[in-house]
Symmetry: C2
Subunit: 357 residues, 2 copies
């Protein structure tokens, strides 16, 4: 079976939402996409695992990557999709409608129709975005075929409510430890309670005031939060270890080293182990190609807070933004739903830019 | 095989330490004890599970219970026992030497030898003291045969460094909870961090100053401690729940209701759930029989901090004390060891009292 890409983007979204593709089981949908786009002679199709790449090669002076992941988080009674009205506004409801099969539907339709775009386009539809980085289709493709990532600009179709969201915050995780001395809790004065020792750490976290940092005109709101705390040996033992895992979300103007220095300063006097870090991505909206994109799709750019694959492009030197239908707050939600009009709007925006001379 | 109770208490301790009896596997040692004491016509022997009771019935005006548990915590390369010198003092080293087979050895020897003690004696050797209360041999015996607990005084042979330790503190566990609102940690301001909300709880614990309370002349040092803390959903989620388990050790002058009021006041403003409580035991040293005991064994009585089975007797209206060889700080320690002289000393003390008119 192949997909009918002459249908409306909303209809294509309905069809591909009906093909379950929870992370790890994208093969069927990937097969359909591969077969469908292979029928278009203006596209050069490459498959890597369950990631499909379709490129134009028209010798245009500039190339853009437009990418979307085809996996979803687990279905929870929300497939098949339904057409619903929310306050009189028609929506497509169900798993994947927001994150991000409506965006993929728009991309598939434009890939088929735009046989002579103003810029060369590398379309990428990839698997395993919702799970571990090590399985992420773009990560694997970037290792195997870095040449496919050569571009002047990139657009991820992640839900951004039809607005352009530039860059993203970086993220760092660290474990803050306090140590004590075990003792029987009947003779607590013999020991030293590591959980009590963590009091100043929680106080600093509770009193921490996150900053909003402006980068290339967009305001990035930061955050420093405990995401877990663990300590304790047994109900009658004074604990000798308490571990607090914190997550620092930092503006893309900061390097990972800057972020580490900030976390170490915040917990000065305590044992700090950095366990995980990914830099943010600058919005990259100062490039002329990005300015033309903004002008074409209209509206104002906003900062993206969550880490997305735009950071991967940014790290490879390719300015990247998020632009897709759907409210990001409804991603992963059991009541996930996208306004039909927003699907059309994003299609119009992308089409206008990709066909402008 | 039967035990040779004409041997010295130290030699009996060596033999019974060589018969492993980690909680739950006391049957072999219980069999030996039962067969051994059954050979003495002045003892009336009852078995309940792996708990052995041996009673004199001489019509004496007073009766005392003398009890010891025969189980140990798990062996960790410290069986068989060894004779070692610590600063020139001969010790018996190995699992169970302190907690509490040296004490049981003294009891077995005196049970055999004292065919006409000044008071009637109910000897109890019981299993599963080191594990859940629901499996404790004394607990099970008290349910099945409460009549066997009728007595004017009780002595537990728990390690007390050869001193008399009176009564014990009570213990209460409670869970203090903070609640928040989950959110993605990239947009932490949408949520409310339950771990940060626990900061004042840890601060109160860290600042808490435990009291020492005098009960019948003995000073009972209290304690209020976190024994565990848990919170966290995932590395990118603002946690909506944090739970801190606290353990309050309270003087035997306080009831469980008093203790609960204290804990609730300490965490005023927070959600408090009492999960577990056991009252303490007053030292009971004002009874004439207890005074005679103190005079016979010599030395001064001290407060016992840890909860022991003396509280069980106390709750049944029987004054009870701990009196046994071995430093309680070495109980459960891999380097557990008892001075040989202390075993003899406790034997002399008990013998003097039990044979005094």
């Amino acid at each position: 079976m192949v997909l009918d890409l002459t249908a409306s983007s909303a209809d294509i979204a309905r069809v591909i939402c009906g093909i379950p593709s929870v992370s790890g089981s994208e093969a069927v949908l990937a097969d359909e996409i591969e077969q469908t786009v292979s029928a278009y002679p203006h596209l050069e199709v490459t498959r890597h695992g369950n990631t499909i790449v379709a490129r134009t090669d028209l010798g245009r002076p500039q190339r853009v990557v437009i990418a979307g992941h085809i996996d979803t988080v687990p279905i929870n009674g929300n497939v098949p999709t339904r057409d619903i009205d929310v306050d009189g506004v028609p929506h497509l409801w169900g798993r994947g409608t927001v994150d991000m099969k409506a965006g993929v539907a728009v991309q598939l339709k434009l890939a088929a129709e735009l046989s002579a775009p103003a810029v060369d386009i590398t379309w990428m539809w990839y698997d395993n975005e919702e799970v571990d980085e090590s399985q992420n289709g773009l990560f694997l493709l970037a290792s195997a075929r870095p040449d496919l990532f050569a571009a002047d600009f990139a657009i991820l179709g992640e839900p951004s409510d039809g607005c352009v969201e530039g860059g993203c915050n970086g993220t760092m995780r660290a474990v803050i430890r306090t140590r004590g001395v075990r003792a029987h809790s009947a003779r607590s004065w013999v020991g030293e309670n590591a959980i009590h020792g963590a009091a100043p750490i929680l106080t600093r976290l509770a009193q921490y005031r996150a900053r909003e940092i402006t980068v290339e005109g967009l305001g990035y709101r930061e955050g420093l939060n405990a995401v877990s705390i663990h300590g304790g040996v047994a109900g009658n033992v004074i604990p000798d270890l308490c571990e607090i895992e914190v997550n620092y979300r930092f503006a893309p103007s900061k390097s990972v080293a800057d972020a580490e220095a900030h976390v170490r300063a915040a917990f000065d006097g305590f044992e700090v182990e950095i366990t995980d870090a990914a830099p943010g991505a600058r919005p990259g909206l100062d490039a002329p190609i990005a300015q033309r994109f903004l002008a074409a799709v209209g509206g104002e750019a906003h900062a993206k807070y969550g880490w997305t694959d735009v950071a991967r492009f940014s790290a490879m030197g390719v300015p990247a933004v998020n632009y897709g239908p759907g409210d990001p707050h409804l991603a992963h939600h059991d009541e996930e739903r996208v306004p039909l009009a927003q699907i059309d709007e994003v299609e119009r925006g992308l089409r206008a830019w990709l066909t402008a001379s």
